[in-house]
Symmetry: C2
């Protein structure tokens, strides 16, 4: 009888810092696939900023919180090792919400087959949640127009880096906000952003003025923080703001206030928040939009790979410290 | 040689309270209409909350500020008394941006003829800026659906009262926020709102919970103030917020902050600000939408009529104190 390892959430973040104290590592017996089921051996897990929100006890949010005592929720990539399901065969490579565990049972719902020739880090960095989120937010909601100026926060993150590159391919001036010189250099030198602003280097109001001389038409928000209101004040008439994430506030007991709505009237702005669960039914259409940019070499990515299931517990905290360099994933 | 009276803006609000100190009353010679011009004798002036914004020195707003020393900007109703313009005849009743003065010269641009059979207070209360603003904001931007819950602030004001009645006619649950028992009673007993909340009576969080048991789908914002963030927290998933005015902040040197954007993500909300100058070219289509409701007796109004040009200087302040009962206008 073989066993596998799983990690359960046992406490909420907030007063507790994000790390091993919130979790318990358990050993379980590897189950057998029942009628209509598949058994998946997970090979790679995705770590995403949204997971910090899923750990909070807020029952009013777009997705129910992970229950205490349950396996931590996450998406990942794996291989079918047993199948009693007509649509899946042993050996298929699949993606789905498999959670923090080495093996997962599924009835196939929400599980998608993935071309085995694509590198795992490319699948999780581009064709999974980050790419879908960037495509939906920028192209479907933000509606970028050539010649406009886009600013994206969390620009070196998994979503932000794709947003900026898509916008660049669409002919916009693209300014990224990221933490630290290394990330800023990567945005400009490797990804082709027009400029990058290091939010940790201060002088933000002047830096923004320098890098957005024609104001800002499109603001893609991933982080919150001090720069939010400064960007808001530089929005042009009829500007659009797409709110994808607010990582700076995910663990705050009381999130920081937002900017006054006065500028919404003066500049006739639109602000729209979204989350991907509302749009996952459009995955094929979103991939159809995204794929040509990837094939044309317009979308570069870098993965920050952690080793072993248990590394996930510390890894989540990288979103708060900014330690992650590119798309965070865990190799099992 | 006859003269007429005009009122110029000579100081900005802010440190100065809104009142006669910001203006000078001048006497001018009545001009003659030149080639292609008309001379209008103004009979009624409209006072609107937006005028307070036009007095501020903010050159970044949707419309340039009124220059110091210039006639105060306003819309009004009048009669053509001289015409050298092919489209206008002496005796025509017209509406336009005539300013705070008894006579105005115009080349006809932006001047519209008005059916002489309609009462003046109905024209200014319903078929002018208030009705256009309500129709654009609620029907075009808010996209109300029967069965939803709408909350409108400044509900007893010229725009808010029409927004609520249009939404009621569209089959929504309509809750108005207004200051004082008299206004709240008027909303419920005369205009047919489902409920009204007196923002001066306190207990706002509980009152909101009582009157919006199914949450809020559509928030039409005219005022700002303490209740804004409480309403924001009660928004339902996919709710829409239409920002038309923020009267509580128009004279603040630093407007109050807005709510955190966290709820925008959790509830996937859209917030949109708008001002009518962007939409005035659609006036015929907006009137086509609005008029059937008026003809069906669905839109009641009340005008608060001040007497004489000089009353406008004190009248503007009523928007800040809430003293106005219905659409403010000045009879010349």
């Amino acid at each position: 009888m073989s066993t596998y390892t799983a990690i359960n959430l046992i406490a909420r973040p907030g007063s507790n810092p994000i790390g091993p104290d919130l979790f318990e590592v358990v050993s379980k017996e590897i189950p057998q696939a029942g009628a209509g089921e598949i058994l998946i051996r997970q090979t790679h897990m995705s770590l995403d900023p949204a997971m910090i929100g899923w750990m909070s006890p807020d029952t009013e949010s777009y997705i129910p919180p992970v229950e205490l005592g349950a396996v931590m929720r996450s998406s990942g990539l794996g291989e079918v090792v047993e199948s009693n399901h007509p649509d899946f065969s042993v050996g298929d490579r699949v993606m789905g919400m498999f959670g923090w565990q080495e093996y997962a049972l599924s009835n196939g719902q929400g599980v998608n087959k993935i071309d085995a020739s694509l590198p795992a880090d490319m699948v999780l960095s581009v064709f999974a949640l980050p790419g879908l989120t960037a495509t939906q937010g920028l192209l479907e909601i933000g509606k970028p127009k050539a010649g406009e100026t886009l600013i994206v926060t969390g620009a070196a993150g998994s979503v932000g880096s794709i947003v900026g590159q898509l916008a660049k391919a669409e002919g916009l001036r693209v300014v990224g906000v990221a933490g630290g010189k290394e990330k800023c250099d990567w945005l400009v030198n490797e990804l082709g952003f027009d400029a990058a602003i290091d939010y940790k280097a201060g002088n933000l109001e002047q830096r923004l003025a320098e890098e957005t001389p024609n104001g800002i038409d499109l603001f893609f928000e991933n982080t919150g923080g001090e720069i939010q209101s400064l960007i808001f004040e530089r929005m042009n008439a009829h500007g659009r703001i797409v709110v994808c994430g607010l990582i700076a506030d995910y663990t705050a007991s009381k999130p920081a206030p937002g900017p006054s709505w006065m500028n919404l009237i003066k500049k006739r702005l639109t602000i729209q928040g979204y989350t991907m669960p509302d749009h996952l039914h459009k995955t094929p259409q979103l991939l159809e939009k995204l794929t040509p940019y990837v094939q044309a070499g317009k979308i570069k990515y870098r993965a920050h790979e952690l080793e072993g299931l248990e590394s996930a517990m510390e890894g989540l905290n990288y979103f708060l410290t900014g330690e992650n360099k590119g798309k965070l994933l865990v190799k099992l």
